[in-house]
């Protein structure tokens, strides 16, 4: 278990991370979410020992400090790049050897991973000769080749096509099943919703909410419904029972106020439009994210 206790980081007068605490458990994918500039990267850099916290502690597995555990951590940074003039296999072996792997073992593992991701034939090519997607696969391999216990993935799906996204998604789920601590940072809420069992939402360096995703959704409150309709959407915009809405091409997601029951709301709109679908839904992570970030931003302002 990775435990963060009252982590605080200050750059001059700017507080980048303001006393956050959380636990990321083995075998689960932990979503570290937040808007740009929220303090996610600073938090990850502190876990990785790239920068030192102003105060607070990062503990792993019975209070062991992470300071000397470079070989146990794997990291995929958000902005990616590799030595452009190096051979794929040489680069993977070099980065694996920095993580404490023996050369021979690193080479075997590198070839296994390249094979698994369908790019073994590119092992002796220069990085500059690879497509962007394949370069990202190579970078993913460098993050996981040494079988790390803690894996930190910052926007692992950026720039990948849907097929490669699915491939990486499956690999992440497999790694979680191998009892690893997986920290995933992403702006793609639909992916976070599908992969993460626990989330930690951070904004302006402070915790906004955290916990099991199902609990967060339950506690978020409000009555959320999804309706399908034909014709214009003006009936939604003018209805005073609707607190918030999000309109798509032929359906909408609505949050109703607590004064009206969903069944009564359905009755009230049935004469105004043709309803093709009606269901009670959980709020999406995307909606929770936007709402909470907006609320905390207003508070801070």
């Amino acid at each position: 278990m990775l435990e963060i206790q009252k982590l605080y980081k200050k750059y001059g007068s700017l507080v980048a991370v303001d006393g956050i605490s959380f636990q990321a458990n083995q075998g689960k994918i932990f979503g570290l979410l937040g808007p740009n500039g929220a303090g996610k990267t600073t938090t990850m850099r502190m876990i990785l020992n790239i920068i030192k916290p102003t105060s607070g502690e990062i503990l792993f597995d019975n209070n062991k400090s992470l300071n000397d555990l470079y070989n146990l951590v794997g990291y995929l940074p958000e902005e990616r790049g590799l030595y452009r003039n190096s051979d794929v296999i040489d680069l993977i072996v070099y980065l694996a050897s920095l993580k404490g792997m023996k050369k021979k073992e690193a080479k075997n593992q590198a070839l296994n991973w390249l094979d698994r991701l369908g790019i073994k034939h590119l092992a002796n090519h220069k990085i500059s000769e690879l497509s962007k997607g394949n370069q990202q696969k190579v970078q993913f391999i460098t993050a996981v080749i040494h079988n790390p216990i803690i894996l930190i993935l910052d926007e692992p799906f950026t720039g990948l096509d849907p097929i490669n996204q699915q491939e990486i998604k499956n690999l992440i789920l497999e790694l979680a099943a191998l009892n690893k601590v997986l920290i995933l940072s992403t702006h793609q809420m639909d992916i976070a919703e599908k992969l993460c069992s626990e989330i930690f939402l951070i904004n302006k360096g402070k915790e906004v909410c955290s916990g099991e995703l199902s609990e967060i959704k339950k506690n978020f409150g409000g009555q959320h419904i999804k309706i399908g309709f034909e014709g214009g959407s003006n009936f939604i915009k003018d209805d005073k029972n609707i607190l918030q809405y999000e309109i798509f091409s032929n359906y909408a997601e609505l949050q109703l106020n607590s004064l009206i029951k969903p069944s009564d709301f359905l009755k009230s709109i049935i004469d105004k439009t043709t309803i093709t679908h009606f269901s009670i839904i959980e709020p999406s992570l995307n909606k929770i994210f936007i709402d909470l970030v907006n609320k905390t931003s207003e508070k801070i302002l």
Partner: protein
């Protein structure tokens, strides 16, 4: 320790394959050899042909003896260095003779001519007229010959014994010998001058070429965030030390290749045996200078964000390194001046100044040990400071960290 050598090995293997390294290994000696050969070739080409010099002597007393005086100068092929041509014609006016002589110069029939006349107060006037300016060697020879002539004529007028006059014509020339602790060896100003310059240029080029490779690789690692992966895999000190060791091994390879080229050319006109005097001490200053500057460049290189900034930094550092070339002439005349002493003990200039001093004067054991110790401790201090700068610089991607921030980081515990 293992990770330090992994980084060093990677830096060495990846950079030795680059075109920049190959270019530096091959081009630098070619430039140095050209430095050594070109002046020789130029001098030899000049001295292979006899110069035809005209003399328009309106005094009628100079030409004959002048010809005799210059006849002692010969070329390598034993031909006379100068052939004098009497341009005086009795039936022509001076202005016509001048005009004809000028035409001969313009049409390259003669190299130039002396117009010798007497001014109203009986002072001799000598004007050398040519298309090109006289080179220093010819000018000195001509002046000596004419002054000798005047001196001898005066002695004759005073009825001095001819044997005394002949004795007065015998000039003495001397060779210069530098005395060191082991033995004396003949040397001269030009060879010491060129030897010193060549060693300083070699050190400068070694630092510039390796330094640029280092700063560029740091820039690449910063721009593609690989630096974050590296720093999350090993300590900053390990990464920094590995880079310096790898780069030093690369520079050592470069030096060995240059030494090999030097040995091949040893004993030829290009590299005389005297070039290897004090070679051990010179190599010591080469290595210390290289380690000092590469440690400095790792720190400075980590704060730059663009290729242009990196270029500027290496340019400024190379300007400091070549200071001894600028001061070489006064330094050769007075190697123990206060200014030279200050530069000798200032770490940025110490390596190249000591290389210069090893060529022009004797270095005491005390001076050698003191300077080596200064460099050793300077390198340790610079590595310490560079590590601190490195840790902050690598996280600045689009701008350089401010001076205040750097200062607080350097002085923090």
């Amino acid at each position: 320790m293992k990770k330090i050598f992994e980084v060093a090995r990677w830096e060495y293997v990846e950079k030795i394959r680059t075109k920049t390294f190959l270019f530096s290994v091959i081009i630098t000696p070619i430039i140095i050899i050209l430095y050594a050969i070109l002046p020789t070739l130029f001098v030899e080409e000049q001295s292979d042909s006899t110069k035809i010099i005209g003399v328009l002597d309106s005094t009628n007393v100079i030409f004959h003896d002048f010809n005799k005086e210059l006849s002692s100068y010969t070329l390598n092929n034993h031909q006379p260095a100068y052939l004098l041509l009497d341009l005086k014609k009795n039936n022509q006016s001076l202005s016509n003779m001048i005009s004809e002589a000028d035409d001969k110069v313009k049409s390259n029939k003669i190299y130039g001519y002396f117009l010798i006349s007497k001014l109203p107060n009986n002072i001799l006037s000598i004007d050398f007229r040519s298309k090109n300016i006289l080179d220093a060697k010819d000018k000195i020879r001509f002046e000596i010959a004419i002054n000798n002539l005047r001196w001898q004529q005066q002695l004759r007028l005073k009825n001095i014994n001819p044997s005394t006059i002949d004795f007065s014509k015998n000039n003495i020339s001397f060779i210069e010998t530098q005395i060191n602790n082991n033995s004396g060896s003949p040397s001269d100003f030009i060879s010491v001058f060129y030897r010193s310059i060549i060693y300083i240029i070699l050190l400068t080029m070694l630092i510039i070429s390796s330094g640029q490779m280092l700063v560029r690789s740091l820039l690449e690692e910063k721009s593609n965030r690989l630096i974050e992966i590296l720093i999350s895999s090993c300590k900053a000190e390990e990464l920094l030390s590995g880079k310096i060791i790898g780069l030093s091994a690369l520079a050592l390879t470069q030096m060995l290749l240059w030494i090999f080229i030097g040995i091949v050319l040893l004993g030829t006109n290009v590299i005389p045996i005297t070039s290897f005097h004090n070679i051990i001490e010179i190599i010591v200053y080469f290595i210390l200078g290289f380690l000092f500057y590469s440690s400095l460049l790792v720190g400075i290189g980590s704060i730059v964000s663009t290729e242009q900034e990196a270029q500027q930094i290496t340019n400024y550092l190379s300007m400091i390194l070549i200071i001894p070339i600028v001061i070489i002439l006064p330094a050769m005349q007075n190697p123990d001046s206060i200014f030279m002493t200050v530069l000798t003990y200032f770490p940025l200039t110490l390596p190249s100044v000591m290389i210069l001093k090893l060529n022009i004067t004797n270095i005491s054991n005390f001076e050698f040990l003191t300077t080596v110790l200064i460099m050793f401790f300077s390198i340790l201090v610079i590595i310490k400071i560079s590590t601190k700068i490195f840790m902050i610089g690598i996280l600045y991607y689009d701008k350089m960290p401010g001076f205040k921030e750097l200062k607080s980081r350097i002085f923090s515990k």
